[in-house]
């Protein structure tokens, strides 16, 4: 299968340039994982204002009913446009767009082709992912990319920790066998 994705070095360099633009013209750093908790905080502020006012984490992002902070803000708009951006890349800039993926190959090899099993795994994985991201104060975007490029010690500790835990977990879950989709050709 022909390699149609762009070079990871080109993509990385362009993500660096995108950060120049957001830092200098928008005074913002790329980030994603605050948005889910900001939405949850906004909903809690609306449906249970007293409980929300007593939770410092909720008021940090949503404010209070009397002094609210906007929920639909810069990062929310960024997160909302990630999938459309990827869709443009898949449809118009490469011929690697294939059938919808319901259960990935590597998952099927270990856990079988059942869709409900994979969906349950994705749900549990997503929950663990955001819990860890918020405990750390950021994710791959906010901590690793934005933090890493600012040389923030927190970003580099985060990267070391997520690889230190993610590598053994992935080897345990999916094994160490080589797959038939070598580097670049997916």
């Amino acid at each position: 299968m022909k390699h149609t994705h762009w070079s990871p070095y080109l993509v990385g360099a362009l993500l660096g340039v995108l950060s120049w633009i957001t830092f200098s013209t928008m005074h913002k750093a790329l980030g994603v994982s605050t948005t889910p908790v900001r939405i949850v905080a906004g909903v809690e502020r609306a449906i249970a204002p007293d409980a929300a006012a007593n939770n410092a984490y909720v008021t940090k992002y949503a404010g209070t009913a009397d002094e609210p902070k906007p929920i639909i803000e810069w990062q929310f708009a960024l997160v909302a446009m990630l999938a459309p951006g990827a869709l443009i890349g898949a449809k118009f800039f490469g011929n690697e767009h294939r059938d919808p993926e319901y259960v990935p190959d590597l998952w099927t090899k270990r856990f079988g082709p059942s869709r409900p099993v994979r969906y349950a795994g994705a749900l549990v994985g997503g929950a663990i992912l955001i819990y860890g991201a918020r405990m750390a104060g950021g994710c791959t975007s906010g901590h690793a990319l934005s933090g890493g490029m600012q040389l923030a010690l927190s970003g580099w500790i985060f990267m070391a920790a997520f690889f230190a835990a993610g590598v053994p977990t992935a080897l345990f879950l999916y094994g160490n066998s080589n797959t038939d989709h070598p580097q670049g050709a997916h």
């Binding site: 660096g16 994603v32 905080a41 990935p104 997503g126 663990i128 819990y131 975007s141 992935a170 797959t179």
Partner: protein, 193 residues
């Protein structure tokens, strides 16, 4: 509460939303072009079989960081956004994040971008992220004192700790990344033949 204040309780200024939306569109596009919207790419990075993720990340860090600190050195108004180093929270949270990333096969940005790249199971990952967000906001008061307030070193950088100008740190960082990339490409070529 009238309509205008109700809207401002939820929605920021249109200019910020437009800039955020444009940023997200380009960000999602680049993630897809780099193939990191694929489960197999992320999991094979964690299995140390395919180093696409690290190539993208390290290149972005080097190029992005040199540009940001160079603009600041030229006197441009480019504020930093350094996150505090709360050692226990960052290390433990990072570890939990790594476990979640191995199970889901995506990180928060790539799982959302993957929705646009044909990944159907990613929808359940996004749903899971909201479950995690609810769990975190509700357990925050419990974990705040025993975990989050431990080992707070403040908003420090590698440069501030070494007492050097940030751009100087990028000299060994860039050379190190370059050597790492050369080794990876050599290894990929020899295993391909």
């Amino acid at each position: 509460m009238n309509t205008l204040t109700l809207a401002s309780a939820w929605i920021d200024s249109p200019s910020k939303l437009i800039l955020g939306a444009l940023t997200g569109l380009v960000f999602g596009f680049l993630l897809q072009r780099g193939s990191v919207t694929r489960f197999n790419t992320i999991v094979d990075q964690l299995r140390l079989k395919d180093f696409t993720v690290l190539k993208v990340m390290l290149t972005a860090i080097v190029i992005g960081g040199i540009g940001i600190y160079a603009m600041r050195a030229m006197g441009m108004d480019v504020p930093l956004h350094i996150k505090g180093t709360k050692v226990l929270g960052v290390a433990l949270g990072g570890g939990i994040f790594g476990v979640g990333m191995a199970i889901l096969g995506y990180c928060p940005g790539t799982v959302i971008a993957a929705l646009g790249d044909g990944s159907r199971h990613a929808w359940f990952g996004v749903l899971g992220m909201f479950v995690g967000a609810i769990a975190y906001t509700q357990t925050y008061p419990i974990i705040k004192d025993p975990i989050l307030s431990k080992g707070d070193l403040g908003k420090i950088t590698i440069a501030s700790e070494l007492g050097v100008t940030p751009l100087l740190v990028f000299v060994p960082l860039t050379i190190g990344a370059f050597i790492f990339f050369v080794i990876l490409e050599k290894r990929a070529r020899s295993s391909a033949t």
